[in-house]
Amino acid sequence: MKSSTITLLKILTWLACLSPAAWLAFGAFTNNLGPDPTATITFTTGLTTLRLLTISLAITPLRRLVPQLSWLIKFRRLLGLFAFFYASMHLMTWIALYTGFDTNAMAADIVKRRYITMGMAAWLLLLPLAATSTNWAIRKMGGKRWNRLHKLVYIAIVCGVIHYWWQVKTGVLTPLTITVVVAVLLLARPVLTWVQRRKVRAVVA
């Protein structure tokens, strides 16, 4: 992959990642976010977080399956940081538009409402990952420790998906698609490891 192609793809990724935020900003400015703008902002930022995390989780299995795609790794940090950006917007929406900056209401919500507890946990899990996303942090921590820390993303996305299920009405199946995709991507890891080990063993035997 030529470096100019990578640069072009990165620009496109930036634009794609920014488009939901741009759409929301434009809609807010023109008062065009649908009948329930608060819900539109909440849903768009939440779903974009989950989608970006899901895409970032797809990179490792893809690289393992198709070695020619190993350049995809160059996009993972970008996707992860944008996921954190949307998660933070999502959190801010709740603080500003749902609790009205009322700290008592926030504390009560976090303790009482399990979907908010779960969402809060997901954001807190993403926070150290975003904080250690610089090259400097990777060097400072050492690859192995950094990798281990960043496995937290698996827990974060599971929390995120549960957070989604816990706020739709009982029996509504909208979160099913992303749940299946995330499950496949998480299971792909041990499965790929197992398959590769068997291959190695076959070669050795």
Partner: protein
Amino acid sequence: MLIGKPSDIPSSAITPRDKYLNRRRFLRSAVSSAAAAGAAALGAGRLAQVFSPAIGVFADTKLETVKSPLTTTGEQLTSFDDVTHYNNYYEFGVDKSDPAKNAGGLPTRPWTMRVDGLVKKPKTFDIDALLKLRPLEDRVYRHRCVEAWSMVIPWVGYSLSEFINQCEPLSNARYVQFLSYYNKGVEKWTSESTIDWPYSEGLRMDEAMNPLTLLTFGLYGEVLPNQNGAPIRIVVPWKYGFKSAKSIVTVRFLDRQPPTTWNDQNSHEYGFYSNVNPNVDHPRWSQKVERRIGLPFYAQRRATLMFNGYGDQVASLYNGMDLRKDF
């Protein structure tokens, strides 16, 4: 062409309402059956659906209405567009914008409502007879969804009690159940949730007889659009929106509490009574505040009122009850 002022037109020159409606129906079905035949010949099922005679037959028809002392004043109405394009009608899809897109196939004529259970004699009422039973009133009500959003809607109808009196319920009838239209062929979206169809709702007899409970035929002075529960629904303004059953085909009088859809789905979250109550939270979210539909995001948030602001008229129905237990 000069269009005469209403006062210039002699009432003898106005086409009677049923003739007018019949003519419309005849024309539409003639045109649409031809179109449907053509579309079917082309094998375009979707096209046939678009031109099907059932679509929006009477939505947009003006209704003759009178003023009502029971109307809510001092509220800014939610726009017609938002009232008709932001709906929970899961038979036509779980997304709020789905019912407006998908409910076109609901066959609102002919339509009858069956009354059975604990009544002197089971009866069947035709929708057009029900429209004439009592004068239709304009009633503005606040509408509070259990999902914590709210609207202000100008409904058209008359008190359900007027209809119940025609049903001649027996003295041991203590509850009324409402069953909504259900046809998998028309409502192709019912598997988007795990609900056990048809949709069922219910009220205690005294709640049903309260004059605020509205047997509803229209909104904004017009026949109900399909996605709002055409051709006949109830509106119970002091309860969460899901208690107000849409597109009713059966009214059943019972001596015990009927099974109701959301209560069956999750009795821990949706009580039988489901009165709007800022002091009893939904287990997963607060009911203290609500988001008014159609306002900019920074202006939506407002406090939720006990009984949705209708406490003066309905609080006495629940004297002596623990509304935390019977939520």
